[in-house]
Symmetry: C2
Subunit: 365 residues, 2 copies
Amino acid sequence: MECRFFSSKCMTMSEIAHIEKTNSSQLSSFRPLVEVKSTPRFCSCRGMSAKASHSSTPNNTYVPKKALSSVDEEKIGAGNLLYQVNGTNSSLFSRNLRMLDAFDDEYGGVIVDSERLPANPNVFASMLRFSISHWKAKEKKGIWLKLPVEKSDLVPVAVKEGFEYHHAERGYVMLTYWLPEGPSKLPANASHQVGVGGFVINENNEVLVVQEKYCAPPFSGLWKIPTGFIVESEEIFTGSVREVKEETGIDTEFVEVVAFRHVHNVAFEKSDLFFICMLKPLSTQIMVDDHEIQAAKWMPLVEFVEQPLIQQDCMFKRVIDICIARLGKRYCGLSVHQLASTFDGKTSSLYYNVVDSQHNNCIGN
Amino acid sequence: MECRFFSSKCMTMSEIAHIEKTNSSQLSSFRPLVEVKSTPRFCSCRGMSAKASHSSTPNNTYVPKKALSSVDEEKIGAGNLLYQVNGTNSSLFSRNLRMLDAFDDEYGGVIVDSERLPANPNVFASMLRFSISHWKAKEKKGIWLKLPVEKSDLVPVAVKEGFEYHHAERGYVMLTYWLPEGPSKLPANASHQVGVGGFVINENNEVLVVQEKYCAPPFSGLWKIPTGFIVESEEIFTGSVREVKEETGIDTEFVEVVAFRHVHNVAFEKSDLFFICMLKPLSTQIMVDDHEIQAAKWMPLVEFVEQPLIQQDCMFKRVIDICIARLGKRYCGLSVHQLASTFDGKTSSLYYNVVDSQHNNCIGN
């Protein structure tokens, strides 16, 4: 598998995401020789030297993009192109007609330029077919083809040529083609969703609890801690504070992740990581979110624990036991530490506990 | 946001995944009235009462699926269908022709039956258009449309009718349509990839380290711990052991997660959670994986830490400091505990530390 952290090994996905971003701005200005400037990445050292030469000219002769782009080619018409694809004419003109704009990646693969795709499915089919045969001859490995939603006409064409879906976001679908024999070694799609729960307890030993608005009969009446999914690029420590605020109106401060749960096949066969966070209340006045929450209140800890639905469930009970142990200083959760790495120039969040910080300067925050 | 854990609130995605799985077996046997039997879910109580009535009959009159399916309709031809879509014939026959097979979900939405889609794009276009207008009239909310790769011809049709991509896996793309005004409230796609690193140290205070085979110059020569991504539905504790075994041939036993790192925008704008695991070696003889690894060895801890690339990077250094503190018993990581929950009948992994297990039976494993 792809390696990361402590790693001099790269992440293909990371590199591709980076190349895509870089290209979109660079290509639009029609620079003569496109050089992808990679910022160093903590987890992907190969990504740092990403080679991004155009592969639209089979013999590596440079052809100014402005002179002959996929878009220009299209004006000439599919019929003309189809003829040339099967022909042997090796002039600069016909050679350029037949290949999709693309970049080599550092793994022996190719990234098709999603900003320079032809709109006409027939033109695309011909170019794609010719490109694949060229890439095969060059012993290329993985082909990455990102089709924006406005080019959805090209999806069935790519599938017919052997591409598979890799992942999709609202605005595009990414397809891949693994050219060598044997199973694809391309990195997998995102595999997890991440949720957070906020355990908020005040000085009177009361827990902040909510009742969901829409609830199946077996669970109606259950008082639970506020929970939710973190949103794109959100931190666990901010996500837990946000969820509590949204559902109850209570301001809190993140203290620690006290435990996390890992479970599989919960959503479209994806896995789920759920972080239980200890939060310190900064306000007292509850304001319920009418959309999601039926009621919220401060509930005595004993009463909260004694709910039959919690007593009957060993997972629920264990989590509450952990939170109680944490309150009694018999437990140390993981606090968050923002650290930059010179490897990618990025600041990330490292969660770890500090048991003996007074005597061990190494791991103090 | 959707809530989970301690939660009586449901996960739409979870429910849908479940309904899909259940339907695929139930529908193929053409049961007269399809009832989706939901197993209780730890995190989705609304999912437990998922209503799965067919919405292919606008007035809820039951029409046996075998008698008139989308597939049968297709045999009649697109032209005939198109006429009827715009016509006013309200007979059972024509009404059934015009709607896609679908199920109501518990959130006021609709899940199109992906196993009973017409193959002909024109037929599909007409049925989809008619279905959307019907669902709008019924004030439905989110529409879920899963198109298998072999029905990729239907993708541009759905996009033209207003559908957006939601996510994709190798064999299908999922599209959604949020019918009400305002932004979609459908749950998001998976947001994270999850990696693991194995810190393995033997009785001689030597760390198990590897050199990657393909490495950009700035990192050539760096000795690092074995790392990798966990595969679909794999546990963190088994994934870390597997990666170490694959890269070095060393058998290990999982001890603890000592820390984890959270970083964003690493792959297709997804986030990354990386778990540093302390592992206990069970063998000594190294066998290098030739595909990924250049070299592997047992390296004195002092030598490992003193590598300039590690000394210069505060993230690397901090993680090693944590591992060293753990070795000196000045740190407690999170051990894994397999727990079943009566809420979903599932066993999942709960990671937490046990600081004072002798005096606190509640949280002992």
